[in-house]
Every structure is written in structure tokens, then in C-alpha cells.
């Protein structure tokens, strides 16, 4: 057992860092590091730079144009790029639908979709949740009826993250109401430009437009856009959710936030001294760092196990729970550090320009906005209550 990186791994980390410093737009890095909201091009610029280098398919096998990196390399990549201020690679294409297409898609689907996902040409979004089907996803009602070579899709999806930017959506649709709910679901790939699709913004509590409702009104989808077999979509959906939950842990991102928090704790004043000298606050900071280190090692253990199987097991739920809780703690501590400076509402412009000119400290500018925004992390990707149910049932056999 060795929990340190080998010389080879350290060299790999240096390579990733050098590449990132040369190819990541400094303006984008600044936005990420100060916590500003990113626009479509901010995400895509970095994605394209990686694609050019052959690094966009981080967890992909070489056969599909991926890096073929092992789990430790993937983690190093995540950690180093996050540290340098790289935006998160939007997971819906690269980390979610792509593994499904690789595992269950047809040769035609693989040949057509995977290169466009890898290059960033097609931005994907996720059509899972519906207003009445959140935790109980299998009760979904969005309907797809056969009409010759097409499905006619009618219904509504919701919480569609960054759907306003998307070129394609992968959807769970009901193709049968016979038998168990799970047995009447199919997995469709739908071009967002198809007539009958309407995207409507949902404004979140931080007053930002991040998620959407997607409405389908007699949308014609070629049968060839179905992944795998009809009515077997639930199997693919679960496969995908396992991948989603590993990514949600967000260890690299957490480490970056910790760094910012340490910076803030040195700058913020409490009773005329740096806040870091306040033992009550310092203890909180210490505790979250300890939790994060435990999460990191656990993530590496899960990734190592995952490398030997086809999909992550129920342990992914553990990562999702802890990762989301740590992210929330970090944003809460940043808000606490800001104190009264966390009260004003500062709008995050696309270009990060604040509309409050003389706020006391730029480090605090988005402190409470992030705190409010991050409440979603224990809800999305299967709420933490659902994750605990999964562990209780699948791991503990209760």
C-alpha cells in the first residue's frame, strides 16, 4: 500500500499542469477561481483545447478516441486542472451519455455521436426528471409512441441543466405501460432542433438561469435514435446514474474551494485579527479538510475497483453523499467568513462584472450566492435520501 504518487504520476501531473497553463484562457481561469458564472463558450473553449490534445475523453477507452488513462491518472487530471482554474467538463455528453452509447449503442450511433461529443461539437443535456417523477424516476410519463420508423414523443422533462445551450438531449421515455414501471422505459437520443421541442427557463433561488423545463409536443424521433432495446432503457439509465454519481463527488473542485477559503480566512478580519486565528472558525476549516481527504482516498478506492468492473457499484452513492455534503460545507464556511459582506446580492454577469462597485472584498462577492446555489447538490443526481436508501438496500441488504 502506498498513498503517495509515484515519480511517473508526478511527472504526469506536471505534464497536465504545463498543458493547462498554456492552453487554458486566463480570463476563463480567473472567472473560475473567483467563482463567476461561466457562459457556453467558456466551457467549450477549454473542451476544444483538450480535444485537440486528445484529452477530452478523460475516462474513455482508447478505442473510442479516449485517453485510456487509468483511474489514478483521471483523478490527477481532475485535481490539477481544477486547481489551475479549468472549468468543469460538462458531464452530460462526455461522462454520461457517451459511456451508455459505448456500452449499449449501435455501431452507427457510436460512429456518429462519439466523435461529436469528444470534439465538443454537440452539447448534450439530460432528460430524466419530470415534475411528478423525481426520486421516483421510474414513474416517468413522457410518452413515445411508434409511428412507422419514428417515435412520437409527448410530455415534459424538468431540471434540465444548461439545456439552453444543448444540441442534443438523452431522454428516458415511456414506451409501454404494461407490467412493472421499469420495464416500459426506453432510452432515446433527440436532436434539440426537432420541431415540437420547447425549452423554458427555471430561475433558481440565486436568481440564475441554470436549469430548464423541456416540453415535447408531437416530436418525431427516428427509431434509429433509440439506444439498445425497446423497454430496456431502465438498465441503461441505472448504468448512467452510477457514472453520474462518481463525478458528482467533485474532489478536484472541492480542493480548489478549500484553497480559496484558506485565502479568505487569512484576509477576513475577526476582532482585528485574521479570521484563521479564530479557533472556532479554524476548527471548522480543519474538519472539512479532513473530511475531504477521506473522501479523496475513498474516491481513489472506488475508482480502482471500478476499473475492474464495467460500472461503479452502489459505493458510488457513498461518494455522492459525502461529496455533496462537503461542497455545501465549503460554501457555507465561505459565507460565514464573509460575515456582513455576504448580505448584498451581487448579480453574476456573464463576464463576471459585479454591479456593486465598492463591496468590501472581492473574495466574498459570490459567497452567499454559491451557498444558495449549492443547496442543489444534495438534491440532484438522486437526492441524498435516495442514495442512503440505495446503500441500505444494495450494500447492507436491509
Amino acid at each position: 500500500m502506498d498513498l503517495t504518487y509515484t515519480a511517473e504520476q508526478r511527472a504526469f501531473a506536471d505534464e497536465v499542469r504545463t498543458f493547462t497553463r498554456h492552453h487554458l484562457d486566463p480570463a476563463v481561469a480567473r472567472k473560475v477561481l473567483e467563482g463567476s458564472r461561466l457562459g457556453r463558450e467558456d466551457f467549450l473553449g477549454w473542451h476544444r483545447a483538450l480535444a485537440k490534445k486528445g484529452w477530452a475523453g478523460v475516462g474513455w477507452p482508447k478505442a473510442f478516441g479516449g485517453t485510456g488513462w487509468n483511474s489514478t491518472q483521471q483523478h490527477i487530471f481532475d485535481e490539477v486542472t481544477a486547481d489551475e482554474g479549468a472549468p468543469q467538463l460538462i458531464p452530460f455528453g462526455l461522462r454520461m451519455v457517451a459511456p451508455v452509447i459505448m456500452a449499449f449503442g449501435s455501431k452507427e450511433q457510436q460512429d456518429w455521436h462519439l466523435p461529436k461529443i469528444l470534439s465538443g461539437e454537440n452539447w448534450w443535456c439530460q432528460g430524466y426528471s419530470e415534475p411528478g417523477s423525481g426520486s421516483d424516476l421510474a414513474s416517468l410519463k413522457c410518452k413515445a409512441e411508434r409511428d412507422g420508423d419514428h417515435y412520437i414523443v409527448n410530455g415534459q422533462k424538468t431540471w434540465t441543466t444548461l439545456g439552453q445551450y444543448a444540441d442534443w438531449i438523452f431522454c428516458l421515455v415511456r414506451t409501454s405501460s404494461e407490467g412493472r414501471q421499469q420495464e416500459g422505459i426506453s432510452f432515446l437520443l433527440i436532436d434539440m432542433k426537432t420541431p415540437g421541442i420547447t425549452v423554458r427557463p427555471i430561475i433558481m433561488l440565486d436568481q440564475e438561469h441554470e436549469v430548464n423545463e423541456v416540453w415535447f409536443d408531437d416530436v418525431r424521433v427516428p427509431v434509429g435514435n433509440r439506444v439498445g432495446e425497446e423497454n430496456k432503457g431502465w438498465t441503461y439509465a441505472k448504468f448512467l446514474l452510477g457514472h453520474e454519481r462518481t463525478g458528482i463527488a467533485g474532489v478536484g473542485r472541492c480542493k480548489r474551494i478549500v484553497k480559496r477559503l484558506q485565502h479568505v480566512a487569512k484576509r477576513a478580519q475577526a476582532n482585528g485579527r485574521p479570521l484563521i486565528e479564530d479557533v472556532r472558525f479554524r476548527d471548522r476549516l480543519a474538519q472539512v479538510e479532513i473530511d475531504l481527504r477521506a473522501l479523496e482516498i475513498t474516491l481513489l478506492r472506488v475508482l480502482a475497483a471500478e476499473a475492474e468492473k464495467r460500472a461503479p457499484g452502489p459505493e458510488a452513492s457513498l461518494l455522492k453523499i459525502k461529496g455533496s455534503e462537503i461542497q455545501q460545507t465549503l460554501t457555507e464556511l465561505t459565507m460565514m467568513a464573509a460575515g456582513p459582506a455576504a448580505l448584498p446580492y451581487v448579480r453574476e454577469g456573464e463576464h463576471g462584472a459585479p454591479d456593486v462597485p465598492w463591496l468590501s472584498d472581492e473574495a466574498f462577492r459570490f459567497a452567499s450566492g454559491h451557498y444558495f446555489n449549492f443547496r442543489k447538490t444534495t438534491i440532484y443526481g438522486g437526492s441524498n435520501e435516495i442514495q442512503r436508501n440505495i446503500i441500505a438496500q444494495m450494500v447492507l441488504g436491509l
Partner: protein, 377 residues
């Protein structure tokens, strides 16, 4: 021991509750917070008619001579209705400052406009880079002939957007403690930048550049404002605790209703024991907070500053923790819909969060309570 309200107090609570039920629905509030000013003079005047502005002003100064308990009753209702009109910032806090710091003639002169609701005051104290310090005032005042000149910046001033007059804390060179100055918000050299806060209440950052005021602008005695400021912040904390209880109780009610109506897996989600226990823990926070809001309200009348400080900080610690738990769990139990702007859940959550970090968060007050223990040891 008596937890009963007097007939007058019941009548006050009742008329305010009726006003909120009638004129302050979520839709009414939505229109108000989207308006340019961000609050409603019409509603403000109606609150004045009920007697709210005169309530915290002493009878000798032309007010109703209300106690901490009266303010508690008002704030709890305002919390329930998520009222954004700047009652705390422009009435409760300045009234306490004027009462504690002002000379007899100043109290009478300044209270008149405040008690009628016609003159809005705001306490401009916190400075850039500060957190919850009550005495560390860096802003400089210099004496010039028989006048004073103020220079510096104040941030996160509650009601600073709307105030006609600012009560500015500043330290004169050579003085051991801070002084308070009454400054017209429109005086030469006063620049303010108003903004909404996360909970849709309004505030401002204020810059004072060579602002000249007369000798009569000094509120109370030079260099001796610290006890009055401490008192005003304690009164403000007690008011926040009561407001939090009103908001928390309502949010808990909304959440339990949601648990009973939202169905997943063919049954109400409230059938899940894990969620039931969470709802019970929320209720425990509400009731413990209610008790401590009472303790804080009564403590406002305590003439021993050390005893008052201890009770207030005990209350603000526990209530801030309650704000956090109830707010976070309400959102979590609502799921996705809980993090949307269109539902009142998130608005309650945001107000509770802001209350928890205003005038000292749980950690700050825990520290202040601990300091009191140490001082007595």
C-alpha cells in the same frame, strides 16, 4: 413566571396578523420586491397606522413605550409574512440607539419623525473588512472649530437605501471609544450605493468624504457611544430572533404540508420515517428558538449589560442554529422545487440564512457567551 400576553399585546398581534394575511400575500410581496424601491411606502404607512413605528419609542419621547416583548410580537408576525419594509433597520435599531445614546432633548427631537414613520433612520456602523465587531470603528471624525468632519466607508447598512438620516459611528482622534453622529443622507460628501440583499431586503454601502456636521450632530457624549451601540445591537438581535421564529414556524408548516401532499413511489413522501424525523427535528428547533426569542425579548429590559449580553448571545446562537437547520431541511425536503425562485420556500430559506449571519452568527455569539463565562470565572 407568566407567558400570557396582555389584552393590548393580543390586540396588537391580532391587527398585524390580519394586515399580513390581507395585504401581504406572496403575490403582494412579489410585486413589492420587484419594484424600483424594493419596498412599499403604502404598506409602511399602514404599519405606522397600526402603531408599529411609535411602539419602541418611550412615552416621554412621544412614543408608545413598548418593551422588548412588544417588539418580539411584531417581529414574529413580520417574519411570518416575510415583510421587507425596513422595520428593523429603520425603526427598531435607530430607536434603541437614540433612546440609549441621546440626551433628553435629542431623544425628543429625533424621536418625533421616527415614531410617525416619516423620517427613516439607519445605523451605519460596519466597515469594509469587518465582521461583527461592535466597537472597532475605524472611520475617522475630526473636530474642526465647533464642527466635525467625517471620512470613511460603511457597508451592509440595513435600510441604508431608504434612510433620510444616518446614525454614523466614528472615532475622534485621541478618544478611547466611538461617538455617534446624526448625518443627513443627502449631506454634501455622502455617497450611497443601494442594493437588494439576498433576502430581497435592501441595504447600502455608504461613503463619507469630508462630510461636515455641526456640534449638535453628536448624539450623546463624545467617545462614549459604545454602551449604546452594544445595547442597540442586542435589541436588534432580540428582534431578529423573533422574526426568525415567525419565519421558521411558517416554513415548517409549509414543509409539513408538502410532505403530506407530494407523492413518490405511490404514497406521500411524508410516509418515509427518515423524512418524518427530519420534520420533527425542525419542529424542535422552532420551539427551542421560540423559547430563546422570549428570553432575548425580556433581556432587552435588563439593566445589567453583562446579564443582557449573555442572554442575548445565548438566544442568537441557538436561533441562528435553528435558522440553519430549518432552512436547509425545508429546502432539502422540498427537493428540486425547493431551490426555485418561484416558490416561497426558498424566500424563507434566504431570509433565515441572512438572519443567521446578521449582527453575529452562531459562532460569534457562542464566543461572546463563552467570554461572559470566562469573565465570571
Amino acid at each position: 413566571m407568566d407567558f400570557n400576553l396582555s389584552d393590548e399585546q393580543k390586540a396588537l398581534k391580532d391587527s398585524l396578523a390580519k394586515f399580513i394575511d390581507r395585504a401581504y400575500t406572496f403575490d403582494d410581496r412579489w410585486k413589492i420586491i420587484k419594484s424600483v424601491e424594493g419596498w412599499s411606502r403604502k404598506h409602511w404607512n399602514q404599519l405606522a397606522e397600526i402603531g408599529l413605528m411609535a411602539l419602541p419609542v418611550a412615552e416621554a419621547d412621544g412614543g408608545l413605550g413598548g418593551t422588548g416583548v412588544d417588539t418580539m410580537l411584531v417581529m414574529e408576525e413580520l417574519g411570518r409574512g416575510l415583510v421587507v419594509e425596513p422595520y428593523l433597520g429603520c425603526i427598531v435599531l435607530p430607536a434603541a440607539l437614540i433612546r440609549a445614546a441621546g440626551s433628553e432633548s435629542q431623544r425628543a427631537a429625533l424621536s418625533e419623525g421616527l415614531a410617525s414613520g416619516e423620517t427613516l433612520y439607519a445605523f451605519a456602523h460596519t466597515e469594509p473588512g469587518q465582521r461583527y465587531e461592535r466597537n472597532a470603528v475605524a472611520i475617522a471624525a475630526t473636530a474642526k472649530d465647533d464642527r466635525y468632519v467625517l471620512n470613511g466607508k460603511k457597508v451592509s447598512v440595513l435600510g441604508g437605501d431608504a434612510a433620510d438620516r444616518l446614525l454614523v459611528s466614528a472615532t475622534l482622534s485621541g478618544d478611547a471609544g466611538p461617538s455617534l453622529f446624526v448625518v443627513s443622507a443627502n449631506a454634501n460628501g455622502v455617497k450611497r450605493f443601494a442594493y437588494p440583499m439576498h433576502d430581497a431586503q435592501r441595504g447600502a454601502d455608504i461613503e463619507l468624504a469630508n462630510v461636515e456636521v455641526g456640534a449638535d450632530a453628536l448624539l450623546g457624549e463624545r467617545g462614549r457611544a459604545a454602551p449604546a451601540m452594544d445595547y442597540a445591537f442586542d435589541v436588534g438581535c432580540a428582534a431578529l430572533c423573533a422574526e426568525a421564529v415567525g419565519a421558521m414556524a411558517e416554513l415548517h408548516k409549509i414543509t409539513v404540508e408538502y410532505l403530506k401532499t407530494r407523492k413518490q413511489f405511490g404514497r406521500p413522501i411524508g410516509m418515509n420515517q427518515a423524512l418524518q424525523h427530519r420534520a420533527v427535528d425542525m419542529l424542535m428547533h422552532v420551539e427551542m428558538s421560540r423559547s430563546m426569542a422570549m428570553e432575548a425579548a425580556v433581556a432587552c429590559e435588563n439593566t445589567d449589560p453583562a446579564a443582557r449580553a449573555k442572554a442575548i448571545s445565548a438566544a442568537k446562537t441557538l436561533v441562528s442554529q435553528g435558522c440553519r437547520y430549518v432552512g436547509q431541511q425545508a429546502v432539502q425536503l422540498h427537493g428540486g422545487i425547493g431551490v426555485t425562485h418561484e416558490l416561497n420556500t426558498s424566500h424563507y430559506f434566504k431570509r433565515l440564512t441572512m438572519i443567521s449571519i446578521t449582527f453575529g452568527d452562531a459562532d460569534w455569539h457562542l464566543g461572546r457567551y463563552g467570554d461572559a463565562l470566562l469573565a465570571a470565572a
